[in-house]
């Protein structure tokens, strides 16, 4: 997992839910552990698209559960 991408994603995550950056782990689940709602998550995708200059497929993104899966998905898009 690319460390820089993980760190950037953590920074974005902390704009959406009240967690400290050190509480966000690769295995953290967006909904159950970090307290995301599906609206939070979909809104965050817009910011991720701008930040990483990628286009995200909503259907694929809906299956992402953990931060690690999100990083993996973004790595694929930016490869």
């Amino acid at each position: 997992m690319e460390v820089k991408m993980f760190e950037k994603l953590v920074e974005i995550i902390c704009n959406y839910v009240e967690v400290e950056p050190e509480q966000v782990k690769p295995e953290s689940r967006f909904m159950e552990d970090l307290g995301f709602t599906s609206f939070d998550f979909m809104s965050m995708l817009g910011e991720i698209e701008d930040e990483f200059e990628v286009e995200i497929d909503e259907t694929q993104a809906a299956n992402i559960r953990t931060v690690q899966e999100a990083v993996g998905y973004l790595e694929q898009l930016t490869a």
Binding site: N15, Y16, T37, S38, F39, M42, S43, E58, A61
Partner: protein, 467 residues
């Protein structure tokens, strides 16, 4: 054009606020936008410390200090005053029964706010007949929604706890209402994002005309077709000639609620997807149409700044599903998730523009609609956001209806923090929908959701026949 009011800069209304103004204008009872609630806890309170916490919360929350004003042309504006200088009332309900105390607060909820230059909320410290103590809050929906209300009450609790108890941290700052307002207004100035959202919704509307599904079957649609002499009419009159409303609440216990939540976790869908699936399948069962639309509300609070900026942000759009009977329950739930995720990304679009475009695309007699109800799901409770600091102390929350609604039926589903069950709050026009109709809907809605959750691969048609 107004630029300043009482020395304060003024701002135009947002699309979400205009939507509420639109509803209020069409309603003879101006209290239709009132939201009343009480929060009481089973402990003694230091009333002076609580009063100071309330003043501090006002100081920290711009949206609770907003006033409205209208210029000579009739355009409404808003401005934020620096300080709330009113006295915070205290009402002791000792000597009354609980029913009497609640009836008084219900009455408070039916009193409309002055139209201009006045506070648009009211906080009262209350001592209840059952010994519980706490707050009654009344707000105007143009400046408060369920999430901002909870956020404000949570702030009062945290400020109070910080002042009274050792080791309780001072709450983090609220976000600026004005900053968020300016962001919303910039979006509405024909921004690229707005153009993209408009394109999405206009395309969605133009796909094909929806069809109305009645709560008890196709009678209302048939009546509209007969009345207007149009056998192909697809919209119907859903409301009555009276806006008088009642609130009926149905409680789902903790164990069955857990079964629904387990389904959601297992298949990675939100509860609102399951609720929409249950409701739309009910209407399909009752009307025989695979094409079903209901209104759904979107809170539009994703970032922390949005969550903590107060005000009202809800946008409501029709949510349409066309599911053949051969589709499985789970496929339907996933399709709803997919459609909803897509809509979330365009939810800043002005709902009034949506309805204007739809009315132009499918002209039909005024007052007719395709949607028999509205759904709001409220995932946030006070327990997770503040009251946990009070330890094991028991508390009660109660919502008071304002007695009027412009919609036939509005369902709000909320988590009940006391026992982790769900409350189904049906606000409905008394003349349009009866308690008996709602019992019927609630019964079949639950049967459908549980049948589907237990047998996700069952086709919709089978579920309709089995329940």
């Amino acid at each position: 054009m107004m630029r300043k009011r009482k020395g304060y800069p003024v701002y135009p209304l947002t699309a979400a606020q205009k939507f509420h103004f639109f509803y209020q204008n069409s309603c003879p009872k101006k209290e239709v936008l009132n939201i009343g609630t009480s929060l009481t806890i089973e402990t003694e309170l230091d009333w002076d410390a609580l009063r100071q916490a309330i003043y501090k919360a006002y100081e920290r929350c711009e949206s609770m200090r907003v006033r409205f004003a209208k210029d000579k042309e009739g355009t409404w504006y808003q401005y934020v005053v620096d300080k709330e200088e009113r006295e915070i009332e205290f009402v002791d309900f000792s000597g009354k029964t609980m029913e009497e105390a609640e009836a008084i607060m219900q009455k408070w909820t039916t009193k409309p706010f002055p139209a201009m230059d006045a506070p648009m909320n009211r906080v009262v410290m209350i001592h209840m007949p059952d010994g519980y103590n706490g707050l009654y809050f009344l707000g105007d929906h143009r400046l408060v929604d369920a999430q901002s209300l909870i956020c404000f009450l949570k702030d009062i609790i945290e400020l109070y706890c910080n002042a009274k108890f050792e080791g309780v941290p001072y709450p983090k700052d609220m976000a600026s209402y004005i900053e968020q307002l300016q962001k919303d207004l910039a979006y509405e100035q024909n921004s690229k994002a707005q153009q993209r959202d408009r394109e999405y919704f206009e395309k969605l509307i133009e796909t094909s005309e929806p069809i109305y599904n009645g709560l008890l079957g196709p009678q209302k649609l048939e009546a509209a077709r007969e009345r207007f002499g149009d056998p192909a009419l697809r919209a119907a009159m859903d409301v009555s000639d009276s806006v008088d409303s009642a609130l009926d609440i149905f409680h789902l216990e903790a164990e069955p609620t857990k079964r629904l939540m387990d389904f959601c976790e297992k298949y990675h869908v939100s509860l609102v997807c399951l609720l929409i699936m249950g409701l739309r399948t009910y209407f399909q069962k009752m009307n025989g149409n695979e094409d079903v639309s209901i209104h759904t509300a979107i809170a539009r609070r994703a970032t922390i700044k949005e969550k903590k900026s107060g005000g009202t942000r809800i946008h409501s759009f029709p949510f349409r599903t066309i599911f053949p009977e051969s589709m499985t329950f789970l496929e339907g739930v996933y399709k709803i998730r997919e459609q909803q995720n897509e809509m979330f990304r365009h939810a800043n679009y002005n709902p009034v523009e949506y309805f204007i475009h739809r009315a132009k695309t499918y002209p039909h007699p005024q007052g007719l609609t395709y949607e028999p109800m509205s759904l709001t799901y409220q995932p946030m409770t006070l327990q997770e956001k503040g009251l946990d600091q009070l330890g094991e102390i028991r508390y009660k929350t109660k919502w008071y209806p304002n007695g009027a609604t412009t919609q036939g039926m509005y369902l709000t589903v909320m988590h009940r923090p006391e026992d982790n069950g769900l409350d189904f709050n049906f606000e409905h026009q008394v003349k349009a929908v009866s308690r008996q109709d709602l019992e019927y809907l609630y019964y079949y809605l639950c049967k459908i959701m549980f049948k589907g959750a237990e047998n996700p691969d069952l086709p919709i048609g089978d579920i309709i026949r089995l329940v």
